[in-house]
């Protein structure tokens, strides 16, 4: 019994010490503890199988034969898989890499990507963040045997400090890349200077993504926590859109085309929302360029001049934009828009949440964005979900959406169902 007494005494003494420590914590005094354990029921963790159903973010792309490719990560492993039946079933995944240090940037706006190229090869990109630092590095890997094997991933650049890469491929096979780059921010920090946000950098590859050249940071002070979007202009030059930090910490949007020599951005501010905020919206814009060369952009703001999800177009390559038009139902927190332009029309979809259910409404425009069809709910879920992405195959439009409960779905627009 002596041993048990000793044990009980020590137990009581320890709890007393712990409570005393808690009571002396700054901001914590007696009474009900702030460390009260959570009583809510939490859902089970997502599955951990190497399949798209278990990924938090999924990036889809059709190759020119109509095969659907997806890049996704589960845990610290990056996979690629393909589907011959438009997402109903997938091939056994090919592992690109399993990280030993750090994580794959695959949360919200950030995600690995797969780009089917004109010569039937595949390019995969992903960003890693080491365990003890917040510096991202973009890696790429290539497959020339229909996704069976991929090259050992290589850093896309010789420097670190990148996030949110985005790509477009021209009809001649040139791959343009745009990303947020911390080079100038790191230089400023080393000199003890303040630097807001990231640079917006660009480069291109003429060897199928093996090497990228012409790296140039063409604009500084982009919001560093929101994705860049890219689309191919009618003239074969890439157009990019991102959230820019304007004078006074105003985080509104900018869209611009990269000049043919890659040395200049030509575009302008999308709207004057006047969102003056020192924060991370974690929500970058969506961009599409239609067959007439009109730029279409959708974005989220909580500015002084407008709040919510908005859409505008530019018929003069970014010199001017139409008056922003509100998207979605404000009562249902519309967010994370995706835009798609095909020969058949223009499409916009986004996420809404009513407190219990997440839905993906979609609208079509046949007049270049001047008017839109009534929203149609294309899919819904009552658990966690990825951002929606619209993809096209020969003019047919699909919603690519991963949801915790239903798994990965590729939903054709013409077979829309709730």
């Amino acid at each position: 019994m002596t041993y048990w007494r000793l044990f009980l005494f020590a137990l009581l003494a320890t709890f007393s010490t712990a409570r005393a420590q808690e009571a002396t914590q700054p901001g914590v005094t007696g009474g009900e503890s702030l460390n009260k354990p959570s009583m809510a029921k939490h859902p089970p963790p997502a599955c951990s199988d190497p399949k798209p159903d278990c990924a938090m973010t999924i990036y889809p792309a059709f190759d020119k034969k109509g095969l659907l490719w997806v890049a996704y990560s589960v845990g610290k492993t990056l996979y690629v898989a393909s589907s011959q039946d438009q997402g109903k079933t997938f091939s056994s995944p090919t592992t690109i890499i399993t990280l030993s240090d750090g994580i794959i940037d695959a949360h919200g706006d950030a995600r690995p990507k797969i780009i089917p190229l004109n010569d039937n090869s595949l390019l995969v990109s992903y960003t890693t963040r080491p365990d003890k630092m917040m510096i991202g590095t973009i890696f790429t890997a290539k497959s020339s045997d229909n996704g069976k094997n991929f090259s050992t991933p290589q850093p896309m650049l010789t420097s670190d400090g990148q996030r949110f890469d985005s790509y477009v491929v021209t009809s001649k096979g040139r791959i343009f890349a745009g990303w947020l780059d911390k080079t100038h921010a790191a230089q400023a920090k080393a000199e003890g200077k303040e630097f807001a946000g990231s640079g917006v950098a660009f480069a291109w590859s003429d060897d199928g993504g093996m090497t990228f050249k012409g790296k140039n940071i063409l604009m500084d002070h982009a919001c560093e926590c929101c994705r860049i979007s890219a689309a191919l202009g009618r003239d074969g030059l890439p157009v990019f859109a991102w959230r820019q930090i304007f004078e006074g910490e105003i985080r509104d949007h900018y869209a611009a085309k990269l000049s043919a020599n890659g040395a200049k951005l030509i575009g302008g501010r999308v709207s004057n929302d006047d969102w003056a905020i020192n924060s991370c919206p974690h929500q970058g814009p969506a961009l599409a360029v239609d067959t007439k060369g009109v730029w279409h952009i959708a974005w989220f703001t909580k500015g002084k001049n407008r709040q919510g999800l908005f859409y505008a177009f530019s018929r003069d390559e970014g010199k001017t934009f139409s008056t922003p038009e509100k998207i979605g139902d404000d009562a249902h927190a519309p967010a994370f828009a995706t835009l798609l332009a095909t020969k058949k029309g223009l499409y916009r979809a986004w996420k809404e949440f009513d407190g219990a259910q997440t839905t993906i409404p979609i609208q079509q425009s046949s007049d270049g964005g001047k008017s839109w069809s009534a929203p149609q709910i294309l899919a819904s879920t009552t658990e966690a979900s990825d951002h929606p992405i619209l993809v096209a195959l020969k003019g047919d439009v699909f919603l690519s959406w991963g949801t915790h409960k239903e798994g990965y779905r590729l939903i054709p627009l013409n077979l829309a169902k709730k």
Binding site: F7, P26, T29, H42, G75, I277, C280, H282, A356, S385
Partner: protein
């Protein structure tokens, strides 16, 4: 069956050591935060002004002001401050390192343990889409306001002035 004194002794000492390690060393711990938890946390110790602060390692503005939060905690012991890290589990270690580096190990921390983030945001504020830093300011036995932005945000400053006025 007779108990073996040596076994009990070993068992007791092991347990004591473990408990003492937890009790006195107190490494940074994130309580799980999921659906339904905001309401519970918001109603803890309602007689005091409270701040519920959401942050992430992917938010440079959040990280930049962690040091200011540590200073604020020391200066304002009249206000309860609860930190909620919105990252996934795989970023939690990184979050802990940031907090420790900024002297916030001893504060109260929760971490998102529910990937249905839209629901978590909605429960806090129907207009919140996940932008950070995001802070809920709750007056003693009173209304609450939510603020997107850093500690120097005018809404935060105004709320603090209001708390100060009540104290007077």
């Amino acid at each position: 069956m007779p108990r073996s004194p040596s076994l009990i002794y070993t068992f007791s000492l092991t347990l004591i050591s473990l408990i003492l390690m937890c009790g006195t060393g107190r490494s940074l711990e994130f309580k799980p935060y999921g659906r339904g938890d905001f309401d519970q946390i918001a109603h803890l110790r309602e007689q005091r002004p409270r701040i519920i602060h959401y942050w992430s390692v992917t938010c440079p503005a959040c990280i930049a002001e962690l040091g200011q939060w540590a200073k604020f905690i020391n200066e304002r012991r009249d206000i309860d401050i609860i930190f909620i890290n919105t990252d996934d589990d795989e970023d939690r270690e990184r979050a802990a390192l940031r907090l420790e580096k900024n002297g916030l190990s001893q504060a109260t921390h929760y971490g998102f343990s529910d990937s249905f983030v839209e629901k978590l945001y909605y429960e806090v504020d129907k207009s919140w889409r996940g932008e950070l830093p995001f802070t809920v300011l709750i007056s003693a036995n009173g209304p609450r306001v939510s603020v997107t932005g850093a500690l120097d945000d005018p809404h935060f400053v105004a709320w603090l002035n209001q708390v100060n006025d009540v104290k007077k």
